[in-house]
Amino acid sequence: MSHNSLLNRSRGAASLQPLVLLAIIVVMIAAQAILVPGSLTVEQLLIISRQASALGIITLGQAAVILVGGIDLSVGATVMMVNIFCISAMQGSDANGPVGLLVCLLIGLGIGAVNAFGVLFLKIAPFVMTLCTTTICEGICYVYTQGSPTGSAAPFIRALGTGRLFGIPYSTLIWLALAAAMWAVLRFTALGRRLYAVGGSPRAARLSGIANVRVVAGAYIFCALMSTVAGLILTGYHNIASLTLAGDYSMNSLAAALIGGNAIEGGRGGVWGVVLGSFFMMLLMAILTMMGISQVGKLIIQGCIILAVVAAQQLWKKD
């Protein structure tokens, strides 16, 4: 019987992780209300959700790759490339929209396919492969822009980044819609089963007749496409072509996915934890900004708090 209760607890821990994260977020919001009186409004939370949406969408892709036992460090470079080439192709005009979107789609498919090819056929470790893709993409961006990109986004892309529907930012809606779609796929479809199985035990999946290559390649391509969508949203929001806009998305998306309860070794994790993980990261930044802490100080505190959350989750799991 003691054996049984142990089972229930360990099974519970995995599904509890997002709830623990949700509780932490609620505590943080309460702390914000106390530390910076009057700052807590619905509008402010919506703004944070908009700021979190790009990271959130990238993290969905990252989560899919982690789920099959991989890792994708090239998401930031994908965002950068989409930003530069989207603006370059559209030249600030809606008329060039279809061409620009096609270019972005090809960039996403291309990077995803190259990553998958390297990992699956050249058998390069995902960490190294996607790092190589990153360097190559960044190099292309520097050469193409000669170090000083110019131009602005087409109006419809601007609307994508800044517009709202019933007061809710488009980008937040896109984020949540994509999350819901991914959740449905993981929860209800055979493809979802295959993703978990390949991540949990690639050899068992293969011997059960699953085409591991297709599943893993699909995850990398999905991840690159999510980064493409995030790149478009960021381009619309900032309305500039920039070599620094992509920032730390690779590391932050990894952190958000792991905070959200996805196991780095693959095979375990869900969508809503990842969504909360991204929101948590952005909320933390926003609160630190509101408290008037310098950029450097923010990074230190951010690192410490992420460490504390992950450590707490580890302790909770082992309990």
Partner: protein
């Protein structure tokens, strides 16, 4: 000479779901060859791994020379004078012979340089004494199995052991190599070394052993003195029951049409002209020593291994490309021998593991899982196979070995196979679960499924197979029907001997 040098007192070792050793006590005298026998899974290796410091017992103690000792690790065992020659080579392939022999205890010169010459010299001296011809600087990757074993023996002996454990030492050896090993073992006895000798080969034991201890299902059956040694007596102690007791009675089984036909299957260097067939309701057993091509053959049948020549057909339909998924659609199923490594997805539930190979059957054309139907089918299999779990949502990693094996069977039965390949049907599971799996296999044949079984357990092979094919060096060298089969005939064929 009659003094007990090593004593095991009330040793109990439990693994999740199975008790490997249950209150085992035995003693070994100075300068004796003490054989340890028992079926697969009887606990011999577990007991030796406790002595070798690889495992710690849950209860009980070890005594050396009357003093209680705790052996914390293999290094600790070596330092205490316990040498262990493992059944499967434990060497690092990309290091040379001398680097392996002195791994972790390199001879060091001043300034921290390793004393390569000194180490090689020691090895050569030892080899000379034993009659081995080893080149100390050769990489282990270039050695054959017998040479690798001699490296292990040299490594063990350079530690000047008081106790030497030999786990199935003759499995990979030719006849003259066996004779040399026996001579070495006898010399060690002369020098006062206690040799613990594990083997399945009773003839060897009759020839070599001073005393024999028999284990069965993790319990001590008894220790026989030299004058009491008798093959039949050992067998009955090992088996402890008449074979018919645990195996289903298959005398009344009727075979149907031919389901699987393999013709001229050839993979250069691995398989040569392998041909056989399996009929509906038949259990065909593949026997032989490890690595003689049996597993390669079934992997080829399952689409996991390319073959250059030959054909495989199921119900007269030739199987072409299409890999594993194609084979599953054609009605072939394969239960692997490596349940935890390549069978189960340990992070997932019984339900998700069970439906993994049948996802296509359980989803709509758009790929949405029909969960209601899935639950109904998994529930049916759990009932049929008597899988003991709190619910189908329980993680498979929490089940006992026997129940895990049943989940593997459930997965493959859900694909509605015509031919079921089972690789080591009862590896590492306790006797109760084994009997229940034999019963299940028997029932499946009554439902018209053809079974192809691989097993390294001789008693299982004889007890279950309607027809046995013995492999040797990639070929089928012997076919034995139920009425013809004996342990001796299988063993002879398996070691490449022809019958007079």
């Amino acid at each position: 000479m009659e003094q007990d040098y090593l004593e095991f007192l009330h040793i109990t070792k439990r693994f999740p779901g199975v008790t490997a050793l249950d209150d085992v006590s035995m003693s070994v005298r100075r300068g004796e060859i003490h054989a340890l026998v028992g079926e697969n899974g009887a606990g011999k290796s577990t007991l030796m791994n406790i002595l070798g410091g690889n495992l710690q017992p849950n209860e009980g103690e070890l005594r050396l020379d009357g003093q209680p000792v705790k052996i914390a690790s293999p290094i600790d065992a070596y330092d205490k004078g316990i040498g262990f020659v493992h059944q499967e080579s434990n060497l690092l392939e990309n290091l040379s012979v001398y680097e392996n022999v002195f791994l972790g205890r390199e001879r060091v010169l001043p300034l921290g340089r390793t004393d390569r010459k000194g180490m090689c010299r020691e090895i050569l001296e030892c080899c000379q004494r034993l009659g081995y011809q080893l080149e100390p600087e050769k990489p282990v990757a270039e050695l054959n199995l017998a040479e690798r074993q001699s490296v292990e023996i040299v490594r063990a002996l350079l530690g000047r052991p008081r106790i030497l454990i030999l786990d199935e030492p003759t499995a990979a050896l030719a006849e003259d190599e066996v004779a040399r090993l026996f001579r070495i073992v006898r010399e060690l006895r002369q020098e006062g070394v206690s040799v613990l000798y594990i083997s399945h080969r009773l003839d060897e034991i009759m020839e070599l052993a001073d005393r024999v201890t028999v284990l069965k299902d993790g319990r001590l059956v008894g220790t026989l003195e030299r004058e009491e040694l008798d093959k039949d007596r050992m067998v009955s102690m090992m088996v402890g029951r008449v074979i018919e007791d645990i195996y289903p009675d298959r005398s009344q089984v009727q075979f149907g049409q031919e389901l699987l036909r393999v013709e001229g299957l050839t993979i250069p260097g691995k398989l040569e002209q392998v041909s056989f067939s399996v009929r509906a309701g038949e259990i065909v057993g593949l026997g032989g020593l490890e690595g003689q091509g049996q597993r390669t053959a079934v992997r080829a049948i399952f689409g996991d291994q390319r073959f250059s020549q030959g054909s495989i057909s199921v119900e007269d339909t030739p199987l072409k490309s299409g890999g594993i998924a194609g084979r599953i659609r054609s009605g072939v199923a394969y239960v692997t021998h490596d349940r935890r490594g390549e069978g189960l997805v340990l992070t997932q539930s019984i339900r998700k593991n069970s439906s993994l190979a049948a996802l296509r059957r359980l989803c709509t054309p758009l790929g949405v899982m029909k969960e209601g139907e899935e639950r109904a089918q998994v529930g049916k299999q759990m009932e049929l196979l008597q899988i003991k779990a709190s619910s189908m949502e329980e993680l498979v990693s929490h089940l006992s070995g026997g129940n895990q094996q049943k989940v593997m069977l459930a997965r493959w039965l859900m694909t509605r196979p015509r031919v079921l390949i089972i690789d080591e049907p009862t590896k590492g599971i306790d006797i109760g679960a084994r009997m229940s799996i034999y019963q299940i296999i028997h029932q499946l044949t009554q439902a018209g499924i053809g079974i192809l079984m691989l097993t390294s357990d001789m008693v299982e092979l004889i007890g279950l197979s309607d027809r046995t094919l013995v492999f040797y060096e990639g070929r089928i060298v012997k076919e034995l029907s139920r009425s013809e089969i004996t342990e001796e005939r299988v063993m002879k064929a398996a070691s490449g001997m022809t019958e007079e």
